[in-house]
């Protein structure tokens, strides 16, 4: 006897997708469906719930192979549009990271620095089809005698380019305030002194890991929307912490799970991979990710039915506490409160602003829904789920 009233397999759901009969809804739409019908009925009706998130995601980058020159060169140091790429892999393989600044960037010498161009922007330029200046130097060997190379490359000409992001898609994130006397500029944006504004960075009820809080359907091999193309979850991300404090509904109240993802850069688009400049902090890459969640049973329907009002995060001081590892918060707020535009911190009403685009997250969830409805995108059962509690 099954413990569930509704039970579906990946194979059954994929058969329905192939037949054009699968019922696919976004995580936003699922909230109302579960509320109205209850989880059992919702699980009978709905086969797949699509999620989405679009925001700056550090720990992103790409492996690029730029092909051999004649005479051959073993690249020792490499720059793409003057942004250093790590070349200590092989002769012509590099990894270009999203937060790497350009060689002559003034950084924070004039504070707060602008960080107008960096690795994230190189990736955006590549997927936009723009020419990127490649510079490589070598020290010369018998098999690789060439010592320098400079040429313009486009993504189409590169033999191989793979987006590999070791940590994306954070399951929840802090709400940031600044309780010091001066304005601070951090990866959570510009924070006014005395806690006069707050920022947050999650798509809330649309966010992938909020809809599968215990990683029951997400793991190695999960096929996803990545940067406008098709990608995969290939490991749990760095800093993945499944043991974070949770609500009764399973969602985490602190930053928790993360995903390592990868996909062919050549499939991606500049609409979904965007170089960003965080004033005073550095450059990064805004990444669009959408994860489909199979409604295997009423438990998955319950999880995907979670709403912004039921997802909470902590308010953290980024002026002192965050930078000094002080585990303290100034209360908890729901995403419904955060999205309303104001919260209360220390008894004061504080305006909030997001860093994560809900508009784009919704567009990703809708795009993934279209792909699945059209039979273009099948669900992949993970080979191994992510480490749980």
């Amino acid at each position: 006897m099954s413990e569930y009233k509704v039970q579906k397999t990946y194979e059954e759901i994929n058969a329905r997708i192939r037949a054009g009969q699968a019922v696919v809804v976004t995580a936003e739409e699922m909230v109302g469906i579960v509320k109205k019908n209850g989880p059992v009925e919702a699980a009978r009706k709905v086969d797949v719930v699509t999620t989405g998130t679009f925001s700056p995601m550090c720990s992103s980058g790409a492996f690029v192979n730029f092909g051999h020159a004649n005479p051959t060169l073993k690249a020792w140091k490499v720059w793409l549009n003057n942004v250093p790429a790590y070349a200590g892999l092989a002769a012509v393989d590099v990894y270009i990271g999203a937060t790497e600044p350009t060689e002559e960037d003034p950084l924070n010498k004039v504070f707060p620095g602008e960080f107008l161009y960096g690795g994230g922007h190189v990736l955006e330029d590549l997927v936009a089809g723009r020419k990127v200046r490649l510079k490589a130097i070598g020290y010369g060997t018998d098999c690789y005698p060439n010592k320098s190379l400079e040429k313009e490359v486009t993504l189409a000409e590169l033999p191989y380019a793979l987006l590999v992001n070791p940590r994306n898609c954070y399951q929840n994130y802090n709400c940031a305030v600044n309780l010091s006397e001066r304005t601070i500029y951090c990866y959570m944006g510009t924070l006014k002194p005395h806690g006069r504004n707050a920022t947050y960075c999650s798509a809330g009820e649309l966010s992938p890991l909020m809809n599968d809080p215990f990683y029951k359907t997400i793991g190695l091999g999960t096929r996803i929307f990545l940067g406008g193309g098709v990608g995969y979850v290939t490991w749990h991300g760095s800093q993945h912490n499944p043991r974070a404090l949770r609500s009764e509904n399973g969602t985490t109240r602190r930053p928790a799970g993360t995903l390592m993802v990868q996909g062919d850069l050549k499939q991606m688009s500049p609409r979904w991979l965007k170089g960003v400049s965080m004033q005073g902090y550095g450059s990064s890459l805004a990444v669009g990710i959408g994860v489909p969640i199979p409604i295997l049973n009423e438990e998955m329907a319950t999880y995907t039915g979670v709403s912004d009002a039921e997802i909470f995060t902590q308010i953290v001081d980024y002026a002192y506490d965050y930078s000094h590892g002080v585990a303290r918060n100034y209360g908890e707020v729901s995403y419904a409160q955060l999205k309303s535009g104001q919260i209360e911190v220390n008894g004061k009403v504080v305006p909030t602003a997001p860093l994560s685009s809900v508009v784009r997250a919704r567009e990703i969830a809708l795009t993934l829904k279209e792909w699945i409805e059209a039979g273009r995108f099948l669900l992949e059962k993970p080979i191994q789920t992510l480490p749980g509690e």
């Binding site: 107008l116 920022t199 004033q279 805004a286 602003a353 685009s357 508009v359």
Partner: protein
């Protein structure tokens, strides 16, 4: 209260008139001069912010027109590049006038040019650098 930036061009015939002083006395307007190049016997250019009741600002601007001063609103020179903007909303936390705001419940970022005072705070706050403030675009600030 209405706060906006204007570029004023003074023909050389009115350079000797106490025009800004009259705006304060007759129309109860507060002002903040951000840039001024006024030389005798030459055309003068001024970038100025007026703070006052909407009807007073209107009357003040009409007075300037009567005096032969050309008035251009600077708000037209703040632009959002909709290709670059990905609608995150980071700018809404820093915009002092509410020109950049979130439309609820869909969370779209709305830019209302009429409320913009061209302060430029949004330019560096925007992660995608989608806000462009151009003081030199189609407005010639050279005297």
């Amino acid at each position: 209260m209405n706060t906006r930036l204007y570029v004023l061009k003074f023909p050389k015939e009115v350079i000797d008139q106490p025009i800004i002083c009259n705006l304060v006395k007759k129309y109860d307007l507060q002002f903040n001069i951000l840039k001024a190049t006024i030389l005798m016997q030459q055309e003068g250019v001024m970038v100025i912010e007026f703070v006052g009741h909407k009807t007073n600002v209107k009357k003040g601007l009409a007075y300037l027109g009567e005096m032969g001063v050309t008035v251009q609103s600077l708000a037209g020179n703040i632009r959002r590049d909709d290709e670059k903007c990905y609608q995150c909303g980071a700018c809404t936390g820093i915009c002092p006038t509410g020109a950049l705001s979130l439309h609820r419940p869909d969370m779209a970022v709305v830019f209302d040019e009429d409320k913009c005072t061209a302060c430029g705070l949004c330019v560096s706050v925007c992660p995608a650098r989608a806000m462009e403030v151009s003081l030199n675009g189609n407005i010639d600030l050279a005297a």
